[in-house]
């Protein structure tokens, strides 16, 4: 039986992971784009990403594009597995088969 993941379960982090998992494997999303998509503030998104990064569920990469700093975020393989397990656990709770 799958187990719920306390890191992912927080509503904002759940949305962050859902957004990143919706992309292809290895695909990264720009920080500002993710912030606007999820309607979070800079500090809020940064804080949640730090927690997900500590758990090695996301990878944050800072780079420069046209001399401007840009931050890209992607779900790691470990993050994708943890998210998938979390979704299975939620489905188990409501007795819904995949």
């Amino acid at each position: 039986m799958s187990e719920l993941d306390s890191v992912i379960h927080q509503p904002a982090r759940l949305q962050i992971m859902a957004s990143l998992v919706a992309l292809g494997v290895g695909e990264q999303m720009e920080f500002v784009y993710l912030r606007e998509l999820l309607k979070l503030t800079d500090g809020n998104l940064g804080g949640h990403l730090a927690k997900l990064e500590d758990a090695k569920y996301v990878k944050v990469e800072k780079t420069f594009i046209a001399r401007k700093p840009k931050t890209f975020v992607a779900a790691t393989d470990r993050g994708r597995d943890a998210f998938s397990e979390h979704v299975k656990a939620l489905r188990d709770i409501i007795g819904k088969k995949k």
Binding site: L14, A22, I65, A66, L90, I93, I94
Partner: protein
């Protein structure tokens, strides 16, 4: 962790909503402006060709040049602003996609040169269907069923234009279905998929 059945349902609904919103937002960012641009270009070209049928060749050549310049501007804007999403694991993907489109139209024009079609309507329908076939391939490549559906629907409306619509009104039909369809889809994405 103790989570009630209702809380689990809410979490799953939030996940489904976020995944759907993300996919729509990414698709809107990537192809919304392109659909609007080419939709406007083709609608204008077909309508102009309806009123000036003898100049259709020149009108479409000018339209394709305007569209290509518009694409160059969109790419330049994106290179300055930075992409919303990117995949460093597959840097060659964009190059392969562009190469596919280049090859598709290189083959299409080679076939036209070999077969020398005399009928302008059939030649136009052929080029539209090459583009729509390319869209279906892209849909299968990127697992986007909406692209496949749009490609098939566009192919059917093009064939209807050739076989069921009076040739005098072919350009009006294509302006509405092909150009208008692209423009409408692009505007719908940009306005509704927020």
């Amino acid at each position: 962790m103790n989570v009630s059945e209702q809380e689990a349902q809410e979490s799953l609904a939030s996940i489904d909503g976020t995944i759907s919103r993300t996919r729509k937002a990414v698709m809107k960012t990537q192809i919304g402006p392109i659909l609007v641009l080419w939709g406007m270009v083709w609608t204008a070209c077909y309508l102009a060709s309806h009123f000036f049928p003898k100049s259709a060749g020149g009108i479409f050549t000018a339209g394709a040049s305007v569209g290509a310049a518009g694409i160059a501007i969109l790419l330049l804007r994106e290179s300055r602003r930075g992409p919303a999403t990117r995949n460093p694991l597959d840097k060659s993907l964009t190059m392969r996609v562009n190469f596919f489109w280049l090859l598709a139209f290189a083959y299409a024009f080679t076939w036209i040169a070999l077969l020398k079609p005399q009928d302008g309507i059939r030649m136009n329908a052929f080029l539209c269907m090459v583009a729509l076939f390319g869209l279906i391939v892209m849909g299968l490549w990127f697992c986007s069923w909406s692209m496949v559906v749009v490609g098939i629907a566009g192919t059917i409306t093009t064939l209807v234009g050739v076989y069921a619509i009076h040739h005098m009104y072919y350009c009006v039909w294509m302006a509405v279905t092909f150009g208008g369809g692209m423009l409408g889809t692009g505007l719908y994405m940009l306005w509704k998929w927020r």
